[in-house]
Amino acid sequence: MSAAAQTVATDTAEFIAEPYQPEGDTVIDCDVKKIFYGDFLAVRDSVVPVEKNKITAFIGPSGCGKSTVLRSLNRMNDLIPVFRFEGTVNYHGQDIYAPNVDPVVVRRYIGMVFQQPNPFSMSIYDNVAFGLKLNKFKGNYDEKVQKALERAALWKEVKDKLKNSGLSLSGGQQQRLCIARAIATEPDVLLMDEPCSALDPIATRQVEELMLELRERFTVGLVTHNMQQATRVGDTTAFFSVDISKGGRTGYLVEMGPTKQVFEDPQQDLTKEYVRGEFS
């Protein structure tokens, strides 16, 4: 191994990004110390504030832990038995990893849309009404279902077949159905884990337009592989990279800031290389 490579190796292994100080209010203040899967250190030392009514985009190469961090924000990773989180995730000042916090409650306020469309095997209507029923909503279900489907830009296509199975829709429609399901209960924050990766360009464009509208009402956290998507919809961008110098694959935050700044005037060399498309 050359001397230069070794210098870089020690650099990435010890590098800790300058914490981003947002101007506006934050909804989630995430301070990851360490995230483990069993003995495997997946993510280290990353401070990611999520601002209110903004879209915070998480970008970075494969395996950099951006999804892991996003999924830690509503305790989805708790489904994995070997998952271990060190650090704090303050949601309106309350640490959601505090021992007295029930992950079920966290997930009701911080909704999630996944990479693969995953509607339930029930009717379109029941899919959207699922969260309403779960939260024992007393009121006009039809109205709420219609509103959620309209917001998700799906209403026109499905209004005559609400009784059909959600699984009978096309991939793009299924993903918008999942978004409608997630926003029907009007959660405070919506986390989207590569929501467009299974979609064609037209459906992707529709979902992106939808995100920009949702921002008015919700706070959005978005993981994306697609840098153009981050520049199109992201207000703030967090760039993660992966450190392979110590034989592991540990993700960490390299740089976070307003999207324009991260893409046009990055402070770190790694970010520069990545946003110019020099490695992926």
Binding site: Y109, F114, N118, F120, M122, N135, S165
Partner: protein, 325 residues
């Protein structure tokens, strides 16, 4: 020749080539064997039906539809009717399905929804499936020597305190519907449990994520998402279990009491078609054999109808929940 352009392309540098004559022959041979095996099964079913109908023909001509709703089985007077047996078959099987179904599905949920470590789940599953390997006659003996003595005091108590209730209107004198249905439930349990486990296992991980992502508790995720998603597979499990209960012979012949009567009471002795066949054949004369063949045909038809109905319901749920044509 259609392959000519391919041959020309092949002459240059590629290493691809068309399948040889031998490979094509293997392909068609394999197809032929598969068709033959499938055809043989159909032929076998037709042959059994044909043989059964032929042997039963004199009885069908003699007793006609009256055989279905007749309530007497008298060899000396040559009066034959199987309504009590049809009743006993369906009643005992439905009770078994109710018990075995509830327990089978509960076991499947317990084994698949992260209640225990998956290695321990495998051990449990093997034990449940071992139940299927116990011979029917052992179940019968166990029923006589263990189960009946255990449930007799409970049956007596129920009969004494709730005699007005039709299900407890008679006393348990020994063999009867309750022990038979209980043993039957245990016998169909492995079938229901194993197939339900597979149905739950087939649910993609992303469905589980979706459920928990909506903020369901574990119970809500299982009841409101996992169970409906697995419903078509669970229905298939119930249909198979019910089919098995309808045809079960030996344990029932030992436990049900072989009494030619129709009673709602759980403790009354009854009879089933399969048990009637098993217990009457050895000493039957020519005329009774014909009647028994007719009874076998009735059992076959009932099983057939139940399976077709079950399949229809299952297809319906697949269409309704999964949106498949």
């Amino acid at each position: 020749m259609a392959t000519k352009p391919f041959q020309q392309a092949g002459s240059s540098s590629t290493i691809t080539r068309p399948p040889s004559g031998g490979e094509r022959a293997t392909d068609s041979m394999f197809r032929g064997i598969a068709y033959a095996c499938a055809g043989l099964i159909v032929l076998l079913v037709i042959a059994i039906l044909w043989q059964l109908s032929k042997e039963a023909l004199p009885a069908i001509a003699e007793y006609g539809l009256g055989f279905w709703y007749g309530t007497t089985w008298d060899v000396n007077k040559e009066i034959f009717g199987v309504l009590p047996e049809i009743w006993g078959t369906l009643y005992s099987s439905l009770l078994a399905l109710l018990l075995g179904g509830i327990f089978g599905i509960a076991i499947a949920i317990f084994l698949t929804q992260d209640f225990i470590h998956h290695k321990l789940a495998l051990v449990f599953r093997t034990i449940v499936e071992l139940l299927a390997a116990i011979p029917s006659v052992v179940y019968g003996l166990w029923g006589i020597y263990v189960l009946i003595p255990i449930i007799r005091p409970i049956a007596e108590w129920l009969h004494e305190t709730l005699a007005w209730f039709p299900l407890f209107s008679t006393d348990l004198s020994g063999p009867g519907l309750a022990p038979a249905a209980l043993v039957l439930a245990i016998m169909i349990l492995p079938t229901v449990a194993a197939i339900s486990v597979d149905a739950f296992r087939r649910i993609p991980y992303k469905v589980k994520e979706a459920a928990y992502g909506m903020g369901t508790t574990k119970w809500e995720a299982i009841l409101k998402v996992m169970l409906p998603t697995a419903s078509s597979g669970i229905l298939a499990a119930l249909v198979l279990g019910f089919g098995r209960a309808l045809g079960e012979t030996m344990a029932l012949a030992m436990l049900i009491g072989n009494a030619n009567q129709i009673s709602l009471s759980l403790f009354a002795p009854a009879n089933t078609l399969a048990s009637l066949l098993a217990s009457s054949f050895p000493e039957a004369g020519a005329v009774e054999v014909q009647a028994l063949m007719y009874a076998a045909l009735v059992l076959l038809l009932i099983t057939f109808i139940v399976n077709v109905l079950g399949l229809a319901v299952q297809q319906y749920t697949v269409r309704k929940f999964e949106g498949k044509k």
